[in-house]
């Protein structure tokens, strides 16, 4: 791989290493000509989610969102087959932290933490303002279609989980219709947000689940319990709904955000099962894939709490 990276003519490559995390895509850090860079690539062309838009489109969306003022990593090179790296792109390495546990708890982030929820709202507003003309072709999805898609996957996997059954039913009965579709990031949460201890939200990463859809989807997703890391505040563990909504600037009701916040753990729960299935079918033998199946129960406990309060 180092030879292939050297052939990109970005400068002499050194310090190539695979980073932890990133369950669906490989992320490698390296230096080229002294510049800190990241290589993001699809492992062997196998897509775990089936939903991933592909890295070439990801790179195009990052560039489009950047024009709107959203903080994103600079795309340095989009790989072609001739580069011999598979589907991949190279981006600048943005300084900061993605680990939710640290962002929510560490003293180093205490000063910037109170600003984050509002900033998340502002950045989502910027992403959602991206003109749709000129974007690569993207899937369109609303709540009903998301539920249909994830229920089909769940049925196909064959687990019988009564909380999922109750949640699918409750959410399908209340699915809000799509009004004006916008560019939705699709995975805007702790883990995919690069947070700098002083500068705050420095880059929005991992655009593989981007699509056209309901703006409340992104606003609800950042409020899902699974990304709070013990923080007691609803927005990413670090902020309140009011700050998120004020940063966003209007146009979306809190009720709609709360609906999507309830859809969130159901979707994440099915995604955990999908990732586990990659282990069960032999596609990925890693202990990470096996063990993520056991995170499904956290989504069920969150769902029952949300549904109880909503009922």
């Amino acid at each position: 791989m180092e030879d292939a990276l050297n052939a990109l003519n970005l400068g002499a490559v050194s310090g190539l290493r695979r980073l932890s995390g990133g369950a669906s895509q490989e992320t490698w850090a390296f230096e080229a000509g002294g510049k800190p860079l990241i290589l993001r690539r699809s492992p062997g062309g196998f897509s775990m989610s089936g939903d991933a838009i592909g890295l070439e489109k990801e790179a195009a969306l990052i560039r489009a969102a950047s024009v709107q003022g959203a903080p994103v990593p600079p795309v340095v090179h989009v790989c072609t087959p001739a580069d011999g790296l598979g589907e991949a792109y190279v981006m600048g390495r943005v300084e900061g932290e993605t680990l939710g546990r640290r962002i929510v708890r560490d003293e180093a982030f205490a000063a910037v933490r109170p600003t984050l929820a509002r900033r998340c709202g502002e950045v989502l507003a910027a992403i959602h303002s991206t003109p749709l003309e000129g974007l690569p072709q993207l899937p369109v999805s609303d709540a009903a279609r998301e539920l249909e898609k994830y229920e089909a996957i769940y049925r196909d996997i064959g687990d019988r989980r009564p909380i999922f059954e109750a949640a699918f039913r409750w959410l399908k009965d209340r699915a809000p219709p799509l009004e004006t579709p916008v560019l939705v990031h699709g995975d805007f949460r702790n883990g995919n947000l690069m947070i700098h201890p002083q500068a705050g939200l420095a880059a929005v990463l991992d655009w593989e689940l981007a699509h056209l859809g309901d703006p409340a989807e992104d606003l609800g997703w950042i409020c899902v319990n699974s990304w709070r890391f013990g923080g007691d505040k609803p927005v990413g563990g670090f902020g309140d709904y009011e700050e998120l909504m004020a940063g966003y600037g209007g146009g979306v009701s809190l009720e709609r955000v709360l609906y999507w916040q309830t859809l969130g753990p159901l979707k994440w729960g099915v995604m955990c099962l999908i990732m586990y299935t990659a282990y069960a079918t032999g596609a990925d033998a890693s202990v990470e894939r096996a063990m993520i199946g056991r995170r499904t129960s956290e989504t069920e406990i969150d769902l029952i709490a949300l549904l109880e309060h909503a009922a």
Partner: protein
């Protein structure tokens, strides 16, 4: 038949080996995977201790809820079908109580420190 070492002792021994001997020599992704491996073994350990009584209690609740005998898988599938059809909902206190008790037991096995457990 099997007296010692117990399965719990074997799990503890492997956790100890990974944490004290293997993990310090690993870095980057392998260090991360070693932590996941320890988490997996710890979940298996809790399942051996807590799983049988949790499933017995769940089966008993299902028998009362659905009004007939059966094994856990069959009763659980019936509950799922009736929830999907909207015949049973969370507005039924017995349904809600069963789902809450069952998922609390499961999360105590999978992730006992998950804060969603405290919220429920």
């Amino acid at each position: 038949m099997i007296t010692s070492p117990t399965s719990l002792e074997l799990i503890d021994a492997v956790i100890g080996f990974i944490e004290q001997r293997a993990a310090p020599q690993l870095k980057d992704r392998d260090a991360f995977l070693a932590r996941v491996a320890v988490n997996a073994l710890a979940a298996v350990r809790r399942e051996i201790e807590l799983g049988p009584s949790a499933q017995a209690a769940a089966t008993q609740r299902l028998v009362e809820l659905l009004g007939h005998e059966g094994d856990f898988a069959g009763l659980n599938a019936e509950l799922c079908d009736r929830l999907a059809a909207g015949e049973l909902t969370l507005k039924d206190p017995a349904v809600l109580a069963h789902l809450k008790a069952s998922i609390v037991d499961q999360v105590r096995i999978d992730q006992p420190n998950y804060y969603g457990l405290k919220a429920l």
